[in-house]
């Protein structure tokens, strides 16, 4: 099994603020982490490799410092990585990101069997890149997967896809693209050995010039959507806090409030 895991380095969202004067993101000094849902994708890829053999290859697009997120994946046990890094890729929306990742996978890992991604990244929260990538690569997709069984001989997977009231059991031929939710597994922590060996594993840096794709579809040029304004959300009005009151009296206040608001 050749398993590709697409990952993203994201800012810790709790730290992101808007500069009230310039109305731009204050990214300076914001710590970066591996997107939390991506860890479930990596873990599952490692488990599939442990069971069926093969290779786990990390693919990411991002600035040079995304190397840190790659190292974490390699320390967890991935075999090697491809890092798409070029100023020409900057400013990409989901369509351009998906296009670039798809082109790279097609060109450098043409014999892959499974692509695994975290369902969404915590910064943009769009959940669009994996699906758009599946379309660019003409793959079937199973999104929001909480369990996977791979049948290498039958060249198929059976996955449990989360729904609003349970799950669907879906069968797809290989190759397939799957997106992981946290029900899928319990990601391992990198071991000391893993951390030490990660530095010796191969990370291939790919620039726009290395890719066969249409350069007009990379980065900002290939992005049909444009953020025209960012602003701070409307602050919630200051709430009423009931402290040191008898429970029945407190309950009366709440119910009275909800009644007046027409909620009940």
């Amino acid at each position: 099994m050749i398993i590709v895991v697409c990952i993203k380095q994201v800012p810790e969202i709790t730290e992101i603020k808007i500069d009230p004067k310039t109305k731009t993101l204050m990214r300076e000094g914001v710590p970066s982490i591996l997107n939390p849902l991506d860890e479930f994708a990596i873990e599952e890829a490692l488990r599939i490799r442990e069971k069926h053999g093969g290779e786990v290859i990390i693919v990411t697009m991002g600035p040079p410092q995304a190397k840190e997120a790659i190292l974490k994946c390699l320390a967890m046990g991935a075999d090697r990585a491809i890092h798409l890094s070029d100023r020409a890729f900057a400013g990409a929306d989901t369509l351009a990101t998906a296009y670039t990742l798809a082109k790279a996978i097609k060109q450098f890992i043409p014999n892959f069997d499974i692509i695994l991604c975290g369902k969404q990244a915590i910064d943009g929260d769009t959940a669009q890149v994996p699906v758009e990538m599946a379309e660019w690569l003409n793959l079937t997709q199973i999104t929001g997967v909480k369990k996977v069984e791979v049948d290498p001989k039958g060249r198929k997977v059976v996955a449990h896809r989360e729904t609003d009231e349970g799950y669907e059991v879906i069968e797809s031929k290989l190759p397939v693209l799957l997106t992981a939710i946290k029900e899928l597994n319990e990601p391992r922590l990198p071991t000391l050995m893993g951390i030490l060996s990660a530095k010796n594993k191969e990370t291939r840096v790919i620039t726009a010039a290395d890719l066969d794709g249409d350069t007009g579809l990379f980065g900002l040029n290939g992005s049909p959507t444009q953020v025209v304004e960012i602003f701070a959300p409307k602050p919630r009005g200051k709430g009423t806090i009931i402290l040191g009151e008898d429970p029945v009296a407190a309950a009366k206040k709440i119910i009275q409030f909800l009644f007046e608001k027409g909620v009940i």
Binding site: P11, I13, T14, I16, L25, T94, L95, I122, D125, T126, A127, Q128, V131, E132, E135, W136, T140, Q141, T143, K146, V158, E162, T163, E165, G166, Y167, E168, I170, E171, S172, K173, I181, K182, P224, T225, V227, V228, E229, I230, F231, A232, P233, R236, G237, G239, T240, I241, I242, E245, P247, V248, A250, A251, K253, I254, I255, L258, K261, V263, I264
Partner: protein, 398 residues
């Protein structure tokens, strides 16, 4: 434009894949006739890569040829999802502002009963496609039909609910048509140039962004429970266009083998619920869940949970609110014994009214609470249930 290259062997594999019956094999080569809607189903079926659809990026000059607001009608069992009706109500406003028609896209099997409702909530026109393969949502079948309809009729806006299936479907269509898509919008506006301004939270709701799409149609998924559902008008007239499709069930690449329901009591889809009662670590042990469920029942709401509750296996993941669970915006969110880690807050802080009950007065949940009670939830929740019953008794109509 669609093109068949010399690598075509005339094998005919594409023929049953075309939902619109537009392909014939003539002299060992696929021939595509005017029934083609450019949906792309044949392209992905061809083992030789012999069919290509050339799609141009939309130029400003083309924009005026795109007209109409479209809403994808999402079903759930025997009813339409609320978000569909919310989107029709919102779409009606956008359509009136632009002076363009509002249409609903209805796919499924035996779905005629839904037509009246779609029209009552504002649709001028309904495109109806019925087929056994469309009975249950599946990405390939739905994406093929909808891409075809969009490519043929060129609407200016297409809206989907940001539901599990809406977010599985819309990006598939966007990538095939090579157009922009904005995820999980919480606001839609028309600017002075008639463009759709798509407003959405980013970075876990810490930032709002206004987004424009340079391509057409302008596509977005919209968060359930954010747009206001209007009053239905059952006297509205509606135009119906039925589209016949031919989908070969055997040609599908993917199939649903089983559908498993594991719904607990009052576990209605929390993304669509008007009222949610959520429990956290403060509940102490799983037996105490029933207290919270009782409150949810008294309020007529759904049951949610913070991550620790789900991680401990007390409630299933689809009831989890927050960063690795669902984002909800109900009219009323009651947080019972939830301290309010940022990962939880990003999933519920857009709720209209937030009531928090926690024993720790420093708990971050109180920062977003409309009304908070510092105290013992095991005393306050029963008092709430009791008081609710009293109010209901005094006001039987409410």
């Amino acid at each position: 434009m669609i093109e068949v290259f010399d690598t075509c062997t005339g094998c005919g594999i594409c023929v049953p894949h075309c939902p619109f019956g537009a392909i014939r094999i003539v002299e060992k080569r696929a021939q595509i006739n005017e029934a083609c809607t450019f949906c792309g189903a044949c392209v992905k079926s061809c083992p030789f890569g012999a069919i290509e659809i050339k799609r141009k990026m939309v130029t400003p000059a083309d924009v005026s040829s795109y007209r109409g607001i479209w809403v994808f009608a999402e079903k759930h069992g025997n009813h339409l999802r609320n978000v569909t009706l919310e989107l029709l109500s919102e779409g009606r406003k956008l359509a009136d502002k632009l002076g363009e028609p509002l249409a609903a896209l209805l796919l499924g099997r035996n779905v005629t009963d839904f037509i009246k409702t779609l029209s009552a909530y504002g649709a001028d026109k309904i495109y109806v496609t019925e087929h056994e393969v469309l009975e249950r949502y599946n990405s390939d079948g739905y994406a093929d039909v909808l891409t075809g309809l969009i490519a043929k009729h060129k609407p200016s806006v297409v809206l989907f609910g940001a539901t599990i299936n809406g977010r599985d479907l819309a990006p598939r269509i966007a990538a095939r048509l090579r157009i922009g898509l904005t995820a999980d919008c919480t606001g839609l506006e028309i600017d002075e140039e008639g463009r759709l301004v798509q407003i959405r939270p980013a970075f876990g709701g810490n930032i709002m962004a206004s987004i424009l799409s340079h391509t057409r149609p302008q596509m977005a998924t919209v968060r359930p429970n954010v747009m206001k559902m209007g009053e239905p008008d059952w006297t509205r007239k509606v135009e119906i266009e039925r589209i016949n499709v031919m989908i070969d069930p055997k040609a599908r690449r993917i199939r649903v083998v089983d559908i498993v329901k594991e719904v607990a009591d009052r576990a209605v889809n929390i993304e669509e619920a008007d009222i949610i009662v959520s429990g956290g670590r403060g509940l102490g042990s799983p037996e105490n869940l029933k207290l919270m469920i009782e409150l949810a029942e008294a309020l007529g709401g759904a049951v949610g949970a913070s991550r620790p509750i789900v991680d401990s296996g007390w409630l299933p993941h689809h009831q989890q609110v927050g960063q690795t669970g669902k984002t909800v915006s109900p009219k009323l969110y009651v947080a019972v014994g939830i301290s309010g880690a940022i990962q939880h807050l990003v999933g519920m802080q857009t709720s209209d009214i937030i009531i928090a009950i926690n024993k720790d007065s420093e708990a971050p949940i109180f920062k977003v609470a409309t009304m908070g009670v510092v105290g013992d939830l095991f005393k306050i929740v029963p008092a709430l249930i009791e008081e609710l019953r009293n109010v209901k008794k005094e006001n039987p109509t409410r």
